[in-house]
Symmetry: C2
Subunit: 324 residues, 2 copies
DNA sequence: TTGAAAGCGCTAACAG
DNA sequence: CTGTTAGCGCTTTCAA
C-alpha cells in the first residue's frame, strides 16, 4: 500500500480512503490513486484491514452437510445474499456429529468472523454461553426455539409432522408410515406426526429411521421392510423429497398404484417433487428463504440498522399434488 | 494475549509458542500458560496471526453452485479434507456466470487465502496470469487441460461424451438424444457424444440444452419436445442423474418401457441412480474424489512436501445397470 | 528454553 | 479534502 501511496504521491490514509470511502476524496486524487493501483497491480490485504478495523467481512455457517439438497440450497442462498452485501462465507460441516459443532464455532470465533449461522437449535448450554459472550450476531436456523441464542429463522418441525399426519388422515388413511433420519429435526417431525395420528385415534405409526447421511438408496429397502411388517400400511411421510422419490420408484417396481395402493408425502418441495410421476405432494419448507433471510438479518445487524424481529417463523405449507 | 502472558507470568512469545509449537516449551511453562488460557477463556485471534505469519490457513473454492448435487459433494469432500489438515473453506459461487469468477478470485486473493480450488479450466488469460502471479497453489477441477494454471484434478468431458455414445450404440441404438446444460463442460461432453455418433455413421444427435441451473423439472418437458421432434429416438444421454431420473419419470408417465422403448443413461452415479426404477445406467465421475484429491494436493503443497504429480486424471466409468 | 523488539499491512481518530 | 500518528494482536528473528 505504501508503494501505491508513493507512486501516487499521496499518503497511506488517502490510498485507504480511495479504496474504502472513495466518495470522500476529490475526483483528481481518486483518479491518481486508482491509476497507481492499476499500474502496480496492487491487491489490498483484507486481513490487515480486518485486524485494524476489527471487522472481517466474513460470516461462517455450519450445516450437517452440503451434500443434502435440503441444506445445499440454504447455503447457496446464504452465500449469494452475503456476497451482495460484500461478505464472504466460511463453511463448516458437522457430518451430523453434534459434537463437532463446538470445535467449528471455536475455530470460526478465532477468525473473528462477523456473524455466524447455525443449523438447528440443539446447541449445548456451554456453546450457547460461548456464543453470547462472543458478542457477534448469530442466527439459528431450520427450527424454532423460544430462547434463541440471538436470532432465529425457521419453522416448527413438530407442526410439520402433525400437518403431514393430518393431510394423510384427511385422505382416509388409517395406517401411516414415517421414514426419516436419526437426527434432531427429523425426530421432532416424528413426534408431531405421532401426535397427529394419536389425535385421530389411529394406531401408532410405523417408523424407519435411517442413520444420516440418509442417502436416497436407503429409502427403498426401508420402505420394503415397513410394508412387509404392516400390510395395511397405505401412506408414508418421507422426511425429504429424495427419500419420497425413492419410495415412488419402489412402488413402480412393485406395480403399486400411487396413491391408490400407497400414498407418498415428501418434504422440501425440491425440484424432484415436480419432476416425479406422479407429482409429489410435499411439505414445502422454504429452504432457500432460510438462507436468504438469515443472510439479510445478519447484514442488517452488521450494517448497524436497528434489529428487526429476532425470531422469524417462515412456516410451511402442505402442497397437495398427485401422490397423495 | 498479553493478558494471558501476564496471568501466566511469561512473555508474549512464550504464549504464542504454547499455542503454535508447544513441543518447544518446557512442560512446566506450557502447563502454566495453558492454565492461564483456560482461566481467561482466551481465544487467539487467527487474523492477527495470519497477518504476522502471512499464512491464513484458509483455502477458497469456487463452484457454479452448491445446489447442484454434482458439485455439492465435491465441496463436501473438500471441506472435510481441509478440516482434517487444519484448514477452513471459503466458498464462492458463480451461479454459472463465468464473469463472476474473476471478481471472486480477486476478493479471495485479497484475503490472502493459502490456496484456491476452481471449477473447470475456462479461466481467461488475464485471470490465469493473475493467479500465477499470486504464487499460491491453485487446483483446477472437473476437467482436463494440458497447461493447467498450477495443479489439476479432473477427467475428460469429451471422452465421457464419446463413451456414452459408444455405450448406447453398442446396445443397438441408432437415434440418440442429448440433454445437458448450456455450460462449458456439458458442451464438451456433447462434442464427444457427437463424435462418437459420427464415428459410427449415425445421423446427428438430437440436442436439448437447458439454461443453467438446470433443474430437474426442466428435463421432462425437454425430453418430450425431443421425442416429438424425432419419433425414432430410442436413447438419451442426460448430463446428470437428476435429469435422467426426470426422463425416467416422464417415460413412466407415458407408459414407455425402459430400456425397451427408451434407453436412459445418466451421469454422476448419484444415489438416485441406485434408487431409481429401473436402476440407472450412468457414467461415474468420482465427484467426491475430486474434492478430496484437490484438498490433499493443496495440503501437501502447503505442508511443503515436494509436489506429487500436478495433473491427475481421475477417469470415469460407464456403469451399465438396467436403464440401458 | 525463554524474552525483547520489530514489524505484518491496514484503519481510525485527530489535526490541519 | 488530505496527512500524521498510533495501534489492531500476533509471529519471528535475534539475543540471552
Amino acid at each position: 500500500m505504501s508503494d501505491v501511496a508513493r507512486e501516487a504521491g499521496v499518503s497511506l490514509a488517502t490510498v485507504s480512503r480511495a479504496i474504502n470511502e472513495p466518495e470522500k476524496l476529490s475526483a483528481e486524487t481518486l483518479a491518481l490513486v486508482r491509476a497507481a493501483v492499476e499500474r502496480l497491480g496492487y491487491v489490498p490485504n483484507l486481513n490487515a484491514g480486518s485486524l485494524a478495523s476489527s471487522r472481517s467481512r466474513i460470516v461462517a455457517a455450519i450445516v450437517p452437510t452440503v451434500s443434502n439438497a435440503v441444506f445445499s440450497e440454504t447455503v447457496d442462498a446464504l452465500t449469494q445474499t452475503l456476497a451482495r452485501g460484500g461478505y464472504q462465507l466460511l463453511l463448516g460441516q458437522t457430518a451430523y456429529r453434534g459434537g463437532d459443532e463446538e470445535g467449528l464455532v471455536e475455530a470460526f470465533l478465532g477468525r473473528r468472523v462477523d456473524g455466524l449461522v447455525l443449523t438447528g437449535t440443539a446447541q449445548s448450554p456451554s456453546l450457547r454461553a460461548k456464543l453470547k459472550r462472543a458478542g457477534i450476531p448469530v442466527v439459528q436456523t431450520w427450527d424454532l426455539h423460544d430462547k434463541p441464542i440471538d436470532m432465529l429463522v425457521g419453522f416448527s418441525n413438530f407442526e410439520v409432522g402433525r400437518a403431514a399426519a393430518g393431510h394423510l388422515i384427511e385422505r382416509g388413511h388409517r395406517r401411516l408410515g414415517f421414514i426419516g433420519a436419526q437426527e434432531e429435526r427429523s425426530r421432532q417431525r416424528l413426534e408431531g406426526f405421532r401426535a397427529g395420528a394419536a389425535a385421530h385415534g389411529l394406531a401408532d405409526v410405523e417408523v424407519e429411521l435411517i442413520l444420516p447421511p440418509a442417502h436416497m438408496d436407503d429409502a427403498g429397502p426401508r420402505f420394503a421392510q415397513m410394508a412387509a411388517r404392516c400390510p395395511e400400511l397405505s401412506a408414508v411421510f418421507c422426511n425429504n423429497d429424495m427419500l419420497a422419490a425413492a419410495v415412488v420408484f419402489e412402488c413402480h417396481q412393485r406395480g403399486w398404484r400411487i396413491p391408490g395402493r400407497m400414498a407418498v408425502l415428501g418434504l422440501g418441495d425440491l425440484p424432484i417433487a415436480r419432476a416425479a410421476f406422479p407429482r409429489l405432494s410435499t411439505v414445502e419448507v422454504r429452504r432457500g428463504q432460510i438462507g436468504a433471510r438469515a443472510g439479510q438479518m445478519l447484514l442488517s445487524r452488521l450494517g448497524g440498522e436497528q434489529a428487526g424481529p429476532d425470531i422469524v417463523d417462515l412456516g410451511f405449507e402442505v402442497i397437495a399434488r398427485a401422490s397423495t
